[in-house]
């Protein structure tokens, strides 16, 4: 790929005090409530959050598809629309199918023709694994192939910024694995990548940084390892009478503990360590269940929403 003049990607992506409100049937819906994020050129960042967190709304504003009600967005120092017109952005939007009656190659070729410095069409088909079905009509593709063709449309523009909004939704396990390996190869060319997902594992495996969103706000932002430690907790549930939760919270691998009647619920940073320690010290513990904490629960905790269980948590 040709080296871009550094000035073209100066400034990375900046979101300052971004606000977006929609009119809803029961009053205004505050989709995005003030977001400040900067993403440096060359970074791969994940926008992580449950459905309704405001990820797609944020992406729409970043792509110039929607106007913020407050705040500003700049992409490489320019307003989004200008960055789009300059061919700096390639994106795979959430959901959506392909138009009919064209072959995969015709579709990708047409898209490439719109950009100043596109990727070779054969290369785009090759890396997305569409070579074998290049002459197929788009309406004949399977769900996973359609997603790959949409991905080819995004990368054939050879963009400085690649935006992917929940790209793996229609894919099976194998499809996902392939998809992310192509994405990482693209990011390795020094391009900036931002993807939205509600899977912590996807963010962890494919991004340098995760930006956690909930209820239209950024609730945590940092290296994925750090985020994973904060939200990737498992819950250990056991029946165990007469032990003070604050004592349990001190067990290795346990972040916090609470009691519900005879049951204790331990939030674990390392559930393997926690269960060994628990059974060693309290052989009476029984009915043990270990579950992966859902992202939604973690978000509730991080956002500090008024919630009985959260307020009962006992810190170690």
């Amino acid at each position: 790929m040709t080296a871009q003049a550094p000035a073209q990607t100066d400034g990375g992506i900046r979101l300052n005090g971004l606000i977006k409100t929609f009119r809803g049937p029961h009053g205004p819906i505050h989709a995005v409530r003030g977001i400040d994020v900067s993403i440096a050129a060359g970074e791969t960042a994940a926008l992580l959050g449950p459905n309704g967190a405001g990820k797609s709304t944020t992406i729409d504003m970043m792509l110039g598809l929607s106007k913020p009600d407050g705040g500003t967005v700049t992409v490489f120092g320019r307003p989004p629309r200008e960055a789009v017109d300059a061919g700096l952005i390639g994106a795979m939007l959430q959901s959506g199918a392909l138009i009919r009656d064209v072959s995969v190659r015709e579709l990708v070729t047409m898209m490439a023709s719109l950009y100043p410095d596109p990727m070779d069409v054969d290369e785009a088909l090759e890396v997305t694994g569409l070579k074998a079905m290049a002459s197929q009509r788009t309406q004949k593709l399977s769900g996973g192939e359609t997603q790959r063709a949409r991905f080819a449309l995004a990368i054939v523009s050879n963009p400085e910024l690649l935006v992917l909004d929940e790209p793996t939704v229609a894919m099976d396990v194998e499809g996902r694995r392939e998809f992310w390996s192509i994405m990482r190869a693209f990011a390795a060319r020094g391009r900036t990548v931002l993807f939205a997902t509600h899977y912590l594992e996807e963010a962890d495996a494919n991004a340098d940084r995760a930006i956690l969103m909930a209820h239209g706000r950024v609730v945590a932002d940092g290296p994925t390892t750090e985020i994973k430690a904060r939200v990737g907790r498992r819950t250990l549930r056991a029946t165990l009478e007469d032990v003070d939760p604050s004592t349990l919270a001190c067990l290795p691998g346990v972040a916090s503990a609470e009691r519900h009647g005879d049951a204790v619920i331990l939030s674990c940073t390392d559930s393997d360590q926690a269960i060994r320690a628990l059974l060693e010290r309290y052989p009476a513990a029984r009915d043990i269940e270990i579950t992966g904490g859902s992202l939604e629960e973690a978000f509730l905790e991080l956002t500090g929403e008024p919630d009985d269980e959260v307020s009962e948590l006992v810190a170690p």
């Binding site: 729409d60 017109d85 952005i89 009919r100 009656d101």
Partner: protein
């Protein structure tokens, strides 16, 4: 250059969709043969024209209008699958997008017109060459506001409302424009003359009586072009959300 590639792409795509052009081009031709063929040389009572020529001219305006408005149904379909949003985040200009849509609609309309002329010739409709030319020229001009209307409607409706919306609009414009039967007086006449479709029908009638548009016709067509083109631009710009 990029815009031209998109226009070519649109043309290829449109003419591959057989169902689409069989219905939008085939129906006027079929109607013509059904109505005119059995009695093509017979003079319509009260006029000086044969069935062959009268219905060729009437269906020319109906067929070309359908081609223009069918753009709307196609755009609604493209929006439904998210293609319009995908194009929005590419450097394709608004101008190139409109050009492709308009040229594709015209390609359909001209094909429809040619097939009707050929059918007319087969059924014995004959006209001096300059009448054919003048009629065709004015039809092409009268279709400009309708091309804009197709785009405008396409960005406002959804696929499930496309059928009734398009059917209703074509019927309304054709009826008040005087396609189905001549409107010679009264309120309908006054209203009809304010519509672009009226002048499309009048353009066809040049073949019959050889009179071009009065100034009023030109002004009406121009005014509708300005209004509908502005509307189409507005509808396209605001249409950025998921459908």
């Amino acid at each position: 250059m990029s815009g031209l590639a998109y226009t070519r792409f649109e043309l290829v795509r449109t003419f591959r969709n057989r169902r689409f052009y069989i219905f939008s081009i085939g129906i006027p031709i079929l109607l013509y043969w059904v109505i005119a063929a059995p009695q093509h040389n017979k003079i319509i009572t009260g006029t000086a024209f044969t069935y062959g020529i009268y219905y060729m001219v009437s269906l020319a305006s109906f067929g070309t209008m359908m081609s223009m408005l069918s753009t709307g149904a196609r755009i609604a379909g493209e929006r439904q699958v998210g293609w319009t949003r995908q194009l929005r985040i590419s450097p394709l200009s608004v101008r190139a997008y409109f050009r492709a849509k308009i040229l594709t609609a015209y390609a359909m309309a001209l094909l429809s017109l040619c097939l009707l002329y050929i059918s007319g010739a087969i059924l014995g409709a004959s006209l001096p060459a300059e009448r054919w030319l003048e009629m065709t020229g004015l039809i092409v001009i009268a279709l400009v506001p309708l091309a804009a209307l197709g785009i405008l409607v396409g960005h406002l409706i959804t696929t499930d409302s496309a059928g009734p919306a398009m059917g209703g609009l074509v019927t309304f414009l054709a009826l008040l424009g005087g396609t189905y039967f001549p409107i010679t007086g009264g309120v309908l006449h006054t209203i009809g003359q304010l519509l672009p479709s009226w002048w499309l029908v009048q353009a066809g009638h040049i073949a019959l009586h050889g009179r071009g548009w009065p100034v009023r016709g030109w002004i009406t067509v121009l005014a509708w072009t300005a209004i509908l083109a502005t509307g189409a631009g507005w509808a396209y710009r605001r249409d950025t959300t998921k459908v």
